[in-house]
Symmetry: C2
Subunit: 259 residues, 2 copies
């Protein structure tokens, strides 16, 4: 049987510890190709590069793995992989992205470059998974995520995913120990309340750093924030159809400017 072809990307850049963890696990599962940003792209959401040029260069940091670094966003990387690097060739069986340095639970999925690479895979009709570790810092430890990354990816390779769905997978930090298991969740109802740290540069011109406080409004137990807080791996199936279908009949009823 042919080994699966696995496309790996991320948003922390090709030299990050998280993508190395992901590549190591994927090498056990199939043939791996990496197309990832040449520099960190956190917070890039579903940005793509229009009105500017893109660079793509071969990169040799992973032994025995064909890898490319790209000047663009995570979504650009998946588009370049699909429509240039693998043009007229076999297409990936799964797109995996991450492992992100930091949480992408709840509303953060919207701002997440990691998840934009996965969602771009889903748009292309390929099963796709974004992995994120809810921990930060230079000493971040990904070791406990490996067995779950392997289990979840194997499950997706064997069973597929519903059409147009990408998984948003988050892991509790290593220090919590004894992960209780894997939970299928919905995106929790939470948001970032921003604070802008106002400063002045050496020329006296004002600038800002955005800092945010995460506020969780969700009292349910079926969401990703609850799962992480209770030491489960959270898996949220995400879709790229943003239509609020439930609102269509509401507007058709309410509005008096339709005919």
């Amino acid at each position: 049987m042919q080994k699966p072809l696995i496309l790996v990307s991320n948003d922390d850049g090709i030299t990050s510890k998280g993508i190395r963890t992901l590549v190591e696990v994927m090498q056990e599962l199939g043939d791996v190709i990496v197309v990832a940003p040449d520099s960190p792209q956190s917070g890039m959401g579903h940005a793509i590069t229009v009105g500017d040029t893109l660079r793509l260069e071969e990169n040799f940091i992973f032994d025995g793995v064909k890898a490319y670094e790209c000047s663009g966003t995570p979504a650009d990387c998946v588009k370049l992989a699909r429509h240039f690097v693998l043009r007229d060739q076999r297409q990936p069986d799964v797109v995996v992205s991450g492992v992100n340095h930091g949480s992408n639970t709840s509303i953060s999925v919207l701002y997440s470059g990691t998840m934009s690479a996965a969602i771009e895979g889903a748009i292309e009709g390929t099963p796709a998974i974004g992995f994120s570790l809810c921990d930060y810092g230079s000493k971040i430890d990904f070791s406990h995520t490996k067995e779950y990354i392997k289990k979840i990816t194997l499950q997706v390779l064997s069973k597929g995913l519903p059409k147009g769905v990408a998984l948003n997978v988050n892991f509790p930090p290593k220090r919590n120990e004894n992960i209780k298991g894997i939970r299928i969740c919905r995106q929790s109802n939470a948001k970032w309340v921003e604070d802008f740290d106002e400063r002045y540069d050496p020329n006296g011109r004002r600038y800002f750093w955005m800092t945010g406080n995460f506020v969780n409004f969700d009292k349910g137990e079926d969401n990703d924030e609850w799962a992480i807080a209770n030491n489960y791996v959270s898996v949220v199936p995400c879709e790229f159809d943003l239509t609020a279908h439930h609102s269509i009949p509401v507007l058709n009823d309410d509005w008096d400017i339709l005919r």
Copy 2:
């Protein structure tokens, strides 16, 4: 009665023709405040500026309107408006974004900076609308959009929107004439098939321009692509909960790694 407070943003930048059109209509409806990017931000999706600084400067290009230009993305602009410019003050009654130079129908909503500003409004609990004109070029004519922008904004101001919903409004081009009316739609099933134009710079290094062909798979008549093709204004209610709720029971049934 107090006039409504209207926050205006966009992704083509504060000097664009489209935002001027929008500001003109909004001045008829209430008190206007503008916080918009200082340069074009097309394709920025829901990007935010993390790990870098932001600039915000007062701008005087609109007569009688308080306006600010920001170095960041459209989502940054709405966050700065909410949490810095209007901090501890009255919050906007509606957030409007655009008018975008170009279509944001179908899958383009994901890549759209215009819609990210509107969705950021919805996250903050404010009714929000992104407006886009399905036309391009330096001679783009927004005049026919004004009556519909006014009608739709008044409707939203008087009736509100379901919680967490932002409207994605697209207009047919002026040359089509005789718009037939307004349709509430779902996001059509379509995608961009990218092509990468490969070139070499004067130093012999390779670079790419991304060019895309839009492919519509949708045979329905209840979607935004159909509406625009048939000369209707399309209105898609969008939400920021990306959960594919229908897939949760599917995965809970299918997967054998849960417990």
